[in-house]
Symmetry: C2
Subunit: 187 residues, 2 copies
């Protein structure tokens, strides 16, 4: 059988990706804009900056700056200067932005994935994850893993209370532990 080969799989990934991105024109937003909204939704508070979005999407600063301007002028994203580092601007999703995210065109893919067998889902998750990791480390880029899986992540108390980031020296809520982080360094 010729159809099953690494070459074929690689082409498949690219083709599925392209197909999804053409479907991702919805609600007047473009694919990159949706991805930016999604990122801001699941990133922790330290990671909602233009620089982090840049690293996450693999684009250049200028492009991301434009995208964020577009989202800001639609009232989906708000910028606020970081009081601790006045060069930096903290990004946040507005209520409108969160509401819009419920119409995420990625939803059709989600239902398609749901239709797969459970074992197939797990295999997809692991294989694509490994693929992503190998490409990222091959370029010295951040993995953007979950906060809880980070070297700097620590439980502050033994009683199951809030957590702590040893890098940024800040308290973390339980919710923060689930979020993805720009600074994350896998254990």
């Amino acid at each position: 059988m010729n159809s099953y080969s690494p070459k074929h799989i690689a082409a498949l990934i690219e083709r599925v990706g392209r197909l999804l991105s053409t479907e991702a024109h919805a609600e007047g937003l473009l694919p990159v804009q949706w991805e930016t909204l999604r990122y801001l939704h699941k990133a922790n508070r330290f990671s909602r900056t233009a620089a982090a979005v840049t690293a996450y999407l693999g684009l250049t600063k200028g492009t991301v700056s434009q995208t964020l301007n577009a989202l800001e002028s639609r009232g989906l994203v708000a910028k606020r200067i970081d009081p601790k580092d006045r060069r930096s601007k903290r990004l946040s999703l507005s209520a409108k932005g969160k509401r819009l995210l419920r119409k995420d065109p990625l939803g059709v893919t989600v239902t398609a994935v749901n239709a797969l067998e459970h074992s197939a889902q797990q295999a997809l998750d692991e294989s694509l994850g490994a693929l992503l990791a190998s490409r990222l480390t091959g370029q010295g880029r951040q993995p953007f893993g979950q906060c809880r899986d980070c070297q700097y992540f620590a439980d502050q108390h033994d009683d199951g209370g809030p957590h702590y980031c040893q890098l940024l020296q800040e308290k973390l809520a339980s919710k923060d532990a689930e979020a993805i982080c720009y600074e994350q360094l896998p254990k």
Copy 2:
């Protein structure tokens, strides 16, 4: 564990796709141009037309026409009017185009896929294939399967000789049977 979910998987596919496409700027060609070259390389002779490329990539005619012009002016692709239907132009890869394809930036993905376990490769192939098929049929688009898996595919002789397409009423070489086809209708 929160990281394993259809939503997460869908986002993963999109992100890997984007990452690959940013890597696909190589040799002065753009991602779409590479995909077009790849398509022309593996499509059978009936399927090397602008219309088929359009359907395969999910773009509009105009965009594909521009892309093909770019490839033609670089001497990578040749056009020839189809004598049987003088509206249509048959496309073919030039020797230069085939040579360039050896530097395909998708190669890095191929090696990454190769590094996965065999069972993971198989799972990827099947899951992504199913995903692609569900998205395509959901939009009434062609599956572009292999010629050999088509309803119109027939063995002309019992002695293992060349094959035959019952739709286009043309002989097929063994090589053709492996190629993907615009008209393919899965059995």
